[in-house]
């Protein structure tokens, strides 16, 4: 394997990234939580000790909601239900049926997981506002059920369950309960922080930000959101377990819809996606109104309703997010991003031995009689299409000739009305996009799918996350350099051409035997275009990658394609080697007034 030494000076990675302030926010939030959770007890102030116990439980719930909201893209109005299920699970089992606490804890978690399942199952099928209504319904229904099922819940009277042992001072006057209530939000924050830096976290967020891009990377968005709901439910249920000793009794009044709204609004007001957001948010929508409006409790919903409306209209990024934005702006003034080059990759590829042309004539991908209709429009009309390993196959034709529709069939975004499709030795006519992606197909998009919430490096890394083959040693070194260079890069500052290059690198790192490029050269500079065509040639020669290239730049297509298929109104009108095709009368009109092709 290649052992080329890299001469350019890779900077060592700094401990904290300047792309986001997650690390600083995590420290700041943990510090604030420690102070509020422990200091009142040190001074023996029982009122504040108790108040901050409840508040910190609420913050923990809000941290999970923040993660669910932004990192998994799920809007839930029902987190109060999950909190209540955890609390009632424990209180019913141990407070009513006198089971040991361990059994109660178990039931609390089971109850909240079951509630989470109610949200998670529809999440497999539908996204967005649908789940907003499901969760809102649950928030309405839950208190009604608590009242109705009074055999279990003792109705409006609630269940009294003081757990005095936990409130005994453990250390310097601080009780076990206070420690637990302080630990809960800090653990939740650590979870959020770690999740963001994990493969699963990146894949969830990719699914939240662009379901299509996710599907093309083998991610099933439904599974991701479902999983996110389950994780958040169990976490929120654990907070519910703490709620019982913190308040000493549970009643339906504690889990009215207002509670769910407080968690939701706290996320928005604090700043969506900001780690410190939930702390600031709970203080702003719960704590401060509670102190200021102690005699005017009726006004509380009005106040947090207005605060939230005000924030979402004037400061959509919330309190922490707005401050964070100032910080980012200052940085932007500092200069642009480092240019993103393919040279490291092409250098690495050049040094590899040529791919042994094993089954050169056995197509990896075969389509027969593919037809796709949208209503009365036939977008793809009885198309036959073959692709061999290592082949660069150009797909050309006017706008609306069905090129992208064919690509969408190939990667599984749309299903043929008629025809058959075999890929890597299996019939995938009815397979979904993630299944086809997993079998070894990658693609780019006409509009590059670049995620502003990820650093440039993490944008590339989602391709790596989807990789199923082993990493060659030479590539690892290149990636380390790329990480050093782009870990703090802001994708919003990249030019259009650079975004395309980024997406190309992503799909190369996924390492698929088949790659589809949808108009990759549009908007590239001359130099970038050169780099790109060199890369495609190398992919095919060195890795045996089969490439489908949809492109308007005929010069580019003619210079790198081994075979070209011409589409017109959904049908194949010509297909063959570039040299033969250029003399085909059916294709001549494509060049009218256009590019000089030296075939």
């Amino acid at each position: 394997m290649n052992t080329q030494t890299i001469t350019s000076s890779a900077q060592p990675r700094p401990e904290t990234s300047s792309f986001d302030s997650d690390t600083q926010q995590l420290w700041l939030a943990s510090g604030l939580l420690l102070i509020t959770g422990i200091v009142p007890a040190l001074f023996g102030n029982a009122y504040w000790e108790h108040s901050f116990q409840l508040m910190n439980i609420y913050i923990a719930v809000t941290v999970l909601q923040n993660w669910l909201f932004v990192d998994a893209g799920q809007k839930s109005f029902g987190q109060g239900v999950l909190l209540g299920l955890g609390a009632y699970g424990l209180a019913v089992a141990s407070g009513v049926f006198d089971q040991p606490i361990a059994v109660g804890l178990f039931w609390g978690i089971v109850a909240s997981a079951a509630g989470g399942l109610l949200f998670a199952l529809p999440a497999l099928r539908v996204q967005g506002f649908h789940l907003g209504f499901v969760t809102l319904s649950a928030a309405v229904v839950f208190p009604q059920l608590l009242l109705q099922m009074d055999d279990l819940t003792q109705g409006l009277n609630g269940i009294s369950m003081p757990m005095r042992g936990l409130s005994e001072p453990l250390l310097l006057g601080v009780s076990t309960l206070s420690l637990l209530c302080t630990a809960a939000p800090i653990i939740a924050l650590l979870f959020h922080y770690k999740m963001r830096r994990s493969r699963l976290g990146r894949r969830m967020r990719t699914a939240a930000e662009s379901p299509e891009a996710a599907r093309s990377l083998g991610i099933r968005p439904g599974v991701m959101s479902s999983l996110a709901f389950l994780i958040a439910s169990v976490g929120t249920g654990i907070c519910g377990l703490l709620f019982v000793p913190a308040v000493s009794f549970v009643t339906p009044q504690s889990f009215l819809m207002d509670v769910s709204f407080i968690f939701f609004f706290a996320v928005v007001v604090g700043g969506r996606g900001q780690l410190l957001g939930p702390v600031v948010g709970i203080w702003a929508v719960f704590t401060i109104p509670n102190i200021l409006l102690v005699d005017l409790a009726h006004y509380k919903p009005l106040v947090y309703g207005f605060i939230t409306l005000f924030v979402v209209i004037l400061f959509p990024d919330g309190i922490v997010g707005t401050i964070e934005e100032f910080r980012q702006k200052k940085r932007k003034a500092g200069g642009g991003e480092r240019a993103f080059h393919l040279t490291a990759l092409t250098d690495w590829l050049s040094a590899l031995p040529d791919h042994k042309a094993a089954a050169e004539d056995e197509p990896i991908l075969t389509v027969r009689g593919a037809t796709k209709r949208f209503g009365s429009v036939v977008a793809v009309d009885r198309v036959d299409f073959d692709l061999r390993p290592g082949e660069v196959h150009g797909l050309i034709g006017a706008n609306g000739s069905g090129k992208t529709s064919l690509l969408n069939i190939l990667n599984g975004f749309s299903r043929m009305n008629e025809g058959s499709y075999h890929f890597a030795g299996r019939d995938v006519s009815k397979a979904t996009a993630p299944a086809i992606a997993e079998r070894g197909l990658g693609r780019t998009f006409q509009t590059p799918r670049v995620f502003p919430s990820f650093s440039v490096w993490n944008n590339v890394r989602v391709g790596l996350d989807a990789r199923e083959t082993e990493m060659p040693a030479g590539l690892e070194q290149i990636l380390r350099e790329m990480e050093a260079e782009h870990a703090d890069g802001m994708p919003t500052l990249l030019s259009h051409g650079q975004r395309r290059i980024l997406e190309v690198v992503r799909v190369v790192l996924k390492d698929s035997p088949v790659v589809l490029f949808d108009e990759p050269a549009a908007g590239l500079s001359g130099e970038e275009r050169e780099e790109f065509s060199k890369l495609v040639k190398l992919l095919s020669r060195k890795l045996g990658t089969a490439v489908v290239l949809v492109e308007h730049d005929l010069e580019l297509v003619w210079s790198i394609a081994d075979r070209i298929t011409v589409l017109e109104t959904g049908s194949v009108i010509a297909s063959g080697r570039p040299a033969d095709l250029v003399r085909d009368p059916a294709v001549q009109h494509l060049f009218v007034g256009g590019a000089h092709v030296d075939a």
Binding site: F77, Q148, P301, L302, G305, I313, F374, F413, S414
Partner: protein, 299 residues
């Protein structure tokens, strides 16, 4: 034996009538969802409290009144609520212009809903108020039926046909339909998209407000009732296929009858649970609804 059967028939008629009447309200909320959704892609979570504003309008300005007062007040209240909803639409669409986060509308419509309910609670307390309307009881198959039930069912059909005419026969209506087909194309064709969207919000307000006003005698006019209607209205919209008004004619009464049957056989407190289960099942097995069309994917 025959007496039993007759009693059963009475009972069934009562359940079906009640379910259909309440279900018509859900269908109407669903239609008011649809027009805004088709024009903007937004579902207004405040639609239930807006419906309730109509009912409070009747409570304040037309309680126990005769037709001479009731009809003009109906018109005034509906128009005021229409304007209010258009203003809400303006506020809701405002952040969408600049913000990267496209789901701000979920937050702003929910917070408007919370604000309306909070204002109503501050002014009228949390308990339900009784409203008496001018439409007398009538006897249907031997069952004495409140006039508001008929108003509910009648206004479902009335609004259905008015909307159908508006969306197919008037310039603004066709333009709103065009928005639901292809937003960018409509803009490119020179339509004033924002104005049309505000019009859609306004119309949705008039629909919800007018019906809330008319059916006030049959509902619990209390501030927290709005949520019940917005949720069931959404279930009706999902059952019928979101964006499809014809679907609501089935979806609404279906949800209403499920709720009425649940209330009768299991208990009133379980009605909303039944709707929630219907919603979850439909979303899992028929996410496009009974009459929805699958949208072509755009890549």
């Amino acid at each position: 034996m025959l007496g039993d059967l007759l009693m059963n028939l009475d009972m069934i008629t009562t359940i079906v009538l009640r379910g259909a009447a309440v279900g018509s309200l859900f269908a109407i909320i669903a239609m008011s969802f649809n027009i805004v959704h088709n024009a903007t892609g937004i579902l207004n979570f405040a639609q239930g409290t807006i419906f309730l504003l109509g009912a409070f309008g009747a409570f304040l300005f037309a309680n126990r009144a005769g037709f001479a007062v009731w009809i003009p007040m109906l018109v005034v209240v509906s128009l005021v609520i229409g304007l209010f909803t258009a203003a809400q639409g303006w506020l809701t669409l405002k952040p969408l212009r600049s913000s990267v986060e496209q789901n701000s509308w979920i937050i702003s419509t929910v917070s408007v809903s919370v604000i309306i309910a909070a204002v109503l609670t501050l002014n009228f307390g949390v308990f339900g108020n009784m409203v008496h309307g001018p439409v007398p009881r009538v006897s249907i198959m031997g069952v004495r039926t409140p006039g508001a039930f008929l108003l509910a069912i009648g206004s479902m059909f009335a609004w259905y046909f008015i909307l159908r005419w508006f969306l197919r026969r008037t310039f603004q209506g066709l333009a709103i339909s065009a928005l639901s087909q292809d937003f960018e194309a409509a803009r490119a064709a020179g339509l004033d998209v924002r104005k049309l969207q505000l019009l859609a919000f306004g119309i949705s307000g008039v629909i919800a407000g007018s019906v809330g006003f008319m059916v006030a005698p049959m509902i619990s006019v209390s501030p927290d009732a709005g949520l019940r209607y917005v949720l069931n209205g959404f279930v009706a919209a999902v059952v019928g296929g979101i964006g499809n008004n014809t679907g609501t004619l089935i979806g609404g009464p279906l949800v209403g009858i499920v709720a009425a049957v649940t209330a009768f056989y299991i208990g009133g407190a379980y009605q909303d649970l039944a709707s929630l289960l219907v919603l979850v099942l439909i979303l899992m097995f028929l996410p496009q609804g009974l009459f929805g069309r699958a949208a072509a994917r755009k890549v």
